[in-house]
C-alpha cells in the first residue's frame, strides 16, 4: 500500500477525512459519507494515484459492538499502474442507510452495491438497478445484519413440518402414514 496516497488524500480533502490509520500496512481513510463520490473520482483520475480498480467493496455491521453509527461501507482501491492500494471507509447510520453510488466510476460497483443492499440493506443513491442479487426477491430482511438469526430460513417451497397435522402427529394424536410392507414380505 502507499502512505503517499494517504497523505495526498489528507491534503486534498482535509475536511472530509475523518480518520486515518494503517494497521499492518493497510492504509485506511474514513471519509465523510457525503464526499465519497468526489474522493473516489479524484483518487481515480489523479495521474500519480490512478486508483483505477475498485478491487472490493463491502459493509460491516457493528451492532454487537454497540458502535455508532452502526454500519461501515468499505472500499478497497487498487492502482494497476502504480501497484498501490488504499482502503476508504464511510460510516452509515442505521436510521438513514444511504450512500452515493459509484456505478459511474467503476463498472463493478453495480453488482457490489447490489450485494451490499442484499446483505445489509444499505441503499445506494443513483444506482440504476438496485435489487437483490444473491438472494431472491421474496426474502425478507438482510441476512448479514447481526440481528438476523443465522438459521432463519425463508423457504420458497412449502415444507410439511409447518402443517398442523404434523404437530398432531408429533404429539401422537394422528395416525402415522401407512408404510409399505417390509422386504421380507415378498
Amino acid at each position: 500500500m502507499s502512505a503517499k496516497a494517504l497523505e495526498r488524500l489528507e491534503q486534498r480533502f482535509a475536511e472530509c477525512v475523518l480518520e486515518t490509520h494503517d494497521f499492518r500496512g493497510d492504509e485506511t481513510a474514513v471519509v465523510d459519507r457525503a464526499a465519497i463520490v468526489d474522493v473516489a473520482s479524484w483518487l481515480r483520475d489523479e495521474p500519480d494515484l490512478a486508483f483505477n480498480m475498485l478491487t472490493d467493496m463491502t459493509a460491516v455491521d457493528w451492532l454487537l459492538e454497540g458502535r455508532e453509527p452502526r454500519f461501515e461501507v468499505v472500499y478497497q482501491l487498487y492502482s494497476v499502474e502504480q501497484r498501490h492500494r488504499l482502503r476508504i471507509k464511510v460510516q452509515v447510520p442505521e436510521e438513514d442507510p444511504v450512500v452515493d453510488t459509484l456505478t459511474r466510476l467503476y463498472g463493478i460497483a453495480d453488482w457490489l452495491e447490489r450485494e451490499i443492499w442484499d446483505m445489509y440493506g444499505i441503499r445506494f443513491k443513483g444506482h440504476p438497478n438496485l435489487k437483490r442479487i444473491l438472494l431472491y426477491e421474496e426474502f425478507v430482511g438482510h441476512p448479514l445484519r447481526k440481528d438476523y438469526p443465522k438459521e432463519k430460513r425463508q423457504p420458497l417451497v412449502r415444507r410439511p413440518e409447518n402443517e398442523i397435522a404434523d404437530v398432531l402427529a408429533r404429539r401422537g394424536k394422528a395416525r402415522p402414514l401407512p408404510q409399505p410392507p417390509p422386504r421380507s414380505a415378498r
Binding site: L63, L64, E65, G66, R67, K146, D147, P149, I164, V167, L168, R171, K173
Partner: protein, 541 residues
C-alpha cells in the same frame, strides 16, 4: 462484550462516596475513592488482573493470592483485593515481577488440578481456564502424579462436589455464611489434603444453595439438574427476568435450539433487587415453560386451527356486543406482560365498553423469605393492577357470575382461580374464552375456547415487580407449536370482531402505555439484544 460494560456503567450510580485521592497504576493517574478496595477499583477501570477468591458480593479473605500487585516503597507484593486505596499510592500491575508471581501461583493452582476439561461442566466458562490462557499458557513442568481426592461427593439434593477440581477459594463457604446466613459448607483437613465439605450432620440444602455453583470459579460444585445436559459454550444467553415470584430477579436465559437449559442471575444486573443472586426455586422455573403446554387452539373440546378459533370468539363477541355492553367481563393476568394486559384493558374499556376488569392472580403463599423470594407468586401483579382503573378480584368475579351479571367472559392468562360452580356458570355464557400457556388448570379445561399463548420466555415485553420496578422480558425461544403472544391474539380477535385495536408490536403498546399510565412513565424499553453465544462471550463466573 459491549452490552455488559454498558450495563456496568449504568450500575455505577451509587451516591457520591468518600473523597477522591490520586493514585497511579502502571504510571497512569486515576482519581480513586479513598479506602475503597483496590482490586474492585481496578476492575471498574477495566484493567486486566486475575483473581479467584474475590467476589464483589462477599467478604475479602485473599486466600488465592492471584491478584498480587506491587506497591512503591514496599518490597513484597500485596493482594490487591485486601489493599484499601490510599493517597499517592503507586500500583505496579504489569512488571515482570508481578506477572511472574501470578504465573507461579497459577502453576501451583494447576499442580493438582485433574485433566477434566472434556468431562467438566464448567469447561468453557471456567475462570481457571481463562486465567491460564490469559496469563500463563506455559507447558507443564510436573512429572509426579497428582493428589487424589473424592471425585463425587453428594453434598445435597441439588449439588454435587468434585474435590479434586476444587481450588479452595472458599467463595462458596463465604456465600453460605454471609448471604445465605447458614454456614453449611466448611473446609476441613489441611495442606494438600484440605477438602471442601458440609458441616458434620448437615446437608447443602439451603434454598439459595445453587448460587455456589455460579460463583465456583472451577467445576468443583455442579448443579445436578444441569450437569451433563449441555456444554455451556453451545448455549446462547438472552437477558430476561425471572417469573418465579413478585421479586423479579434479573436473569439470563440460557438456551439452545429453542430449548431452555438453565436460568442464571444476570451479571451486572440490578444489584438492589437480587445482588447477583437467585433462589433455587427461581432457577428451576424454566422447567414449567415447556411442560404440558397448550399448543393448538381448542374450541369446545376439539382442537382446530387459529382461523376457526378466532372466528368463533369474534362471532360470540359480536353476539355479546348486541346486548348490554356492561355484561362483558375481561380478566387481566398477573402472569401476562404489561403490554398484554394493557391491550386487554384497552379492548375492554374502549371497545367492549365493560365497566370494570378483573384480575386473575395466584393467592399469596408462604414460601417467601426476606431477601430473594416473595410470598406473592405472581410475577406481574403490580403491572396488571396498574392497567385497569377499577380492578375486581376473582371472588368478585365469582359473585358477578353467580348473580348472572355477565354475558361473556374473556380471560387473559391462566392464574384465575374460580370455584367449580362459577366455572359451570361461565360455561353457560355466550362466550367463555381463555388465553393460556399451559393446559392443566380447570379454568383452561372448562373454557369454551382455549387459545394457546406464548410463555414468558417466548415473548418481548415488560413486567413490574413488587417494588413497582418495570423490567424487560426478551424472547429467548420460539413459541411452542402454534402459541402466540397474548397481545397478538387480542389484536386478531378484535380485528375479526370489527374493532380497530391496531397495535403492531409490543414496543408500540409500551409507548402507548407510557403515555397513559403513571406507573410506566419512567420505564424504559431497553435495547434489542440478539441472543449471545456464550462461546464467544468470554468466560462467565
Amino acid at each position: 462484550m459491549a452490552n455488559e460494560t454498558e450495563e456496568k456503567k449504568t450500575d455505577k450510580t451509587e451516591p457520591p462516596g468518600p473523597e477522591l485521592v490520586e493514585i497511579s497504576i502502571d504510571g497512569r493517574k486515576y482519581q480513586a475513592p479513598k479506602g475503597e478496595n483496590l482490586l474492585q477499583f481496578m476492575l471498574e477501570q477495566g484493567l486486566e488482573i486475575s483473581y479467584f477468591c474475590y467476589h464483589p458480593g462477599l467478604s475479602v479473605v485473599a486466600v488465592c493470592r492471584q491478584c498480587l500487585v506491587g506497591l512503591a516503597k514496599m518490597n513484597k507484593l500485596v493482594p490487591a483485593c485486601q489493599t484499601p486505596i490510599g493517597p499517592g499510592m503507586e500500583v505496579d500491575n504489569s512488571s515482570d515481577k508481578v506477572l511472574a508471581a501470578r504465573r507461579q501461583l497459577l502453576e501451583f493452582t494447576l499442580v493438582n488440578h485433574p485433566v477434566d476439561c472434556p468431562i467438566c461442566d464448567k469447561a468453557g466458562e471456567c475462570i481457571l481456564q481463562r486465567h491460564y490462557m490469559d496469563w500463563d499458557h506455559a507447558p507443564s513442568k510436573i512429572d509426579h502424579s497428582k493428589v487424589r481426592k473424592p471425585k463425587h461427593v453428594d453434598l445435597g439434593p441439588r449439588i454435587v462436589l468434585d474435590d479434586e477440581r476444587c481450588i479452595l477459594c472458599t467463595r462458596c463457604v463465604r456465600f453460605m455464611a454471609e448471604v445465605a446466613k447458614d454456614p453449611q459448607l466448611v473446609v476441613s483437613k489441611r495442606g494438600s489434603k484440605a477438602v471442601l465439605t458440609v458441616a458434620p450432620g448437615r446437608k447443602l440444602d439451603h434454598p439459595y444453595s445453587l448460587n455456589v455453583v455460579d460463583i465456583c470459579p472451577v467445576g468443583a460444585l455442579t448443579d445436578k439438574d444441569f450437569r451433563f445436559k449441555m456444554r455451556v459454550w453451545e448455549l446462547s444467553s438472552t437477558r430476561s427476568v425471572c417469573n418465579g415470584c413478585a421479586t423479579g430477579c434479573p436473569c439470563e436465559v440460557h438456551h439452545r435450539r429453542d430449548r431452555i437449559y438453565r436460568l442464571v442471575p444476570r451479571r451486572y444486573g440490578n444489584h438492589d433487587i437480587n445482588d447477583n443472586w437467585m433462589c433455587d426455586f427461581g432457577r428451576y422455573t424454566y422447567k414449567a415453560v415447556a411442560a404440558d403446554r397448550l399448543s393448538l387452539p381448542r374450541v369446545q373440546g376439539k382442537e382446530t386451527g387459529w382461523d376457526e378459533a378466532i372466528g368463533f370468539v369474534a362471532d360470540r363477541l359480536k353476539v355479546a356486543l348486541e346486548g348490554d355492553r356492561a355484561r362483558i367481563g375481561v380478566v387481566l393476568g398477573a402472569d401476562a406482560t404489561n403490554e398484554d394486559n394493557f391491550a386487554a384493558s384497552r379492548l375492554a374499556f374502549d371497545f367492549l365498553g365493560a365497566p370494570r376488569v378483573y384480575l386473575g392472580a395466584e393467592p399469596e403463599g408462604d414460601a417467601g423469605d426476606d431477601f430473594l423470594r416473595d410470598n406473592d407468586p405472581n410475577p406481574n401483579r403490580a403491572g396488571a393492577a396498574a392497567c385497569g382503573a377499577d380492578i375486581g378480584t376473582a371472588a368478585e368475579l365469582a359473585d358477578d357470575l353467580a348473580e348472572g351479571k355477565l354475558a361473556a367472559l374473556y380471560v387473559v392468562g391462566e392464574r384465575l382461580h374460580l370455584p367449580a360452580e362459577a366455572l359451570a356458570k361461565a360455561q353457560a355464557l355466550d362466550l367463555f374464552a381463555v388465553q393460556a400457556t399451559h393446559d392443566r388448570s380447570p379454568l383452561v379445561q372448562s373454557a369454551q375456547v382455549a387459545l394457546p399463548a406464548a410463555a414468558w420466555a417466548e415473548v418481548d415485553g415488560t413486567i413490574t415487580n413488587r417494588e413497582n420496578r418495570t423490567q424487560r422480558l426478551r424472547a429467548a425461544v420460539a413459541p411452542v407449536d402454534f402459541a402466540r403472544p397474548h397481545w397478538q391474539i387480542l389484536v386478531q380477535v378484535a380485528r375479526r370482531a370489527g374493532l380497530t385495536l391496531d397495535f403492531v408490536s409490543p414496543r408500540a403498546i409500551f409507548e402507548a402505555m407510557q403515555q397513559e399510565i403513571e406507573l410506566f412513565k419512567d420505564a424504559e424499553w431497553g435495547a434489542e439484544l440478539p441472543p449471545q453465544l456464550l462461546r464467544y462471550a468470554g468466560s462467565r463466573g
